[in-house]
């Protein structure tokens, strides 16, 4: 299928992200509670740190690697700022402008170049394993009962930086957590950032965390819907779906991918052979 042209993509990316505010969320929650006659526990909304709370609680912060500690600080700090500040208020770094700069999906594989400098500037840049140290975003259904959530995560970083103390929020990771995670660590929609996100997802996949890998790529795609999408990103996504048993989605994606990028099909199929059954790959013929 022919992708959108640069002009059309830019036009669509000009549409404002209609994100709700925390007031919107609280207001609807209140009305919902009234309609249902139950109290809905507040979980996961304000805390990007939820992504790391479980690990911090079970293994102790001191047991984490330096990279993980840095990740905790980055995620927590970004929570405080990101929840309050919309993308569109960032001036020249807003989502719309980033998307407006994007080229359409290329017909041929794109040579991706590593960024020359770190993407995250709040604290020393997290290593690539940043995502890998984040505990899996448990499905909301599986979440244990949670006490009321604090208004915002409290992060105290002792000088110089060594031992930040994090008050772990009670909520489990959520889709929104992944959105915030991606926003903090993969803020741009350029090919190099996309490749980094795909590589992080690959690490999750290799660590038998297929669900996390799919969530990460999904969050990145929500952030950069008109991105280029390298073979690596497609391979990891489909491999993750195969490992999760979501074969129908893989077949659909593979059929689409094969029709859209016939020249790239062979490379992706090679990557998928270790994760997907032959039956799935055969059904994925265009």
């Amino acid at each position: 299928m022919k992708p959108l042209s640069k002009e059309a993509s830019a036009a669509l990316s000009a549409l404002k992200a209609a994100d709700p505010t925390s007031e919107d969320e609280a207001r609807v929650r209140k009305n919902l509670e009234r309609a249902l006659g139950v109290a809905i526990p507040v979980v996961g909304v304000a805390a990007a740190t939820t992504a790391v709370s479980a690990q911090a609680a079970t293994t102790g912060f001191a047991a984490l690697s330096l990279g993980a500690k840095v990740a905790l600080v980055v995620v927590a700090v970004s929570t405080v700022s990101v929840v309050a500040v919309s993308l569109s208020s960032r001036g020249g770094e807003g989502r719309g402008e980033e998307q407006a700069k994007q080229a359409p999906k290329p017909e041929a594989p794109v040579v991706l170049v590593e960024p020359s400098e770190p993407e995250v500037a709040v604290v020393p840049p997290p290593p690539p394993e940043l995502v890998a140290v984040v505990p899996p975003p448990a499905k909301p259904r599986a979440a244990p009962p949670k006490p009321p959530e604090p208004e915002a995560p409290v992060v105290v970083v002792e000088a110089p930086i060594a031992e930040p103390v994090v008050t772990p929020p009670p909520a489990p990771p959520t889709a929104e957590t992944w959105d915030l995670e991606v926003e903090a660590n993969f803020p741009n929609c350029d090919p190099a950032t996309e490749l980094r996100s795909a590589q992080s997802a690959r690490k999750l996949l290799d660590a038998d965390r297929a669900e996390d890998a799919v969530w990460l790529l999904g969050a990145y795609q929500r952030r950069c819907p008109s991105g280029r999408w390298s073979d690596e990103a497609w391979s990891v996504r489909m491999a993750g779906l195969c490992k999760l048993g979501r074969t129908a989605e893989v077949v659909g994606l593979l059929q689409w991918f094969s029709a859209e990028y016939p020249a790239r099909r062979a490379a992706v199929l090679t990557e998928l052979r270790s994760s997907c059954s032959d039956e799935v790959l055969q059904h994925g013929q265009p």
Binding site: L4, K16, A18, G44, S88, G91, P140, G218, E249
Partner: protein
Amino acid sequence: MEKAPDTADFGALYAGHFRAVWRTLQRLGVHPGSVDDAAQEVFVTAWRRWADFEGRSTERTWLLGIAIRVASDTRRKQRPTEPVSPELQMTGPGPESAAASKEVGRRVEALLQQLEPERREVLLLVDVEGYSVPEVASATGVNLNTLYTRLRSARQQFEDLVKREAEELR
């Protein structure tokens, strides 16, 4: 009587998906003044149908399906004179260009309104909100190939409209 969901589980569902539901409703043409009610209706429906959710789709696509139906119902109830999605505006680099950006946003929205609703829907969900076509198929129950055809047509039509308006959009 069906068993009600655990409130903690439902709270997690709400926290995890409220933002996407809200955004999707607006993308699908629900008037900003009606989004509160529509979002509430999505989650009330999810609460009532909790037992029906069997994990054949993800929670994301399950809620998307509900949101699409609620958006459709809400749009039908909206008065024809109500502007659709006035919140869909341009993001601009600064306040000085806000007016111009707003105007461009209106033009883009006007172009989208020229698409058939079904085409516009799949274009917005896939190319703006980042859902995959299989996800939309799962949420709507529409045949996958039909959705690909709609998306292809929508993209082509939108391309043509953008080209025609290109000078003004600049």
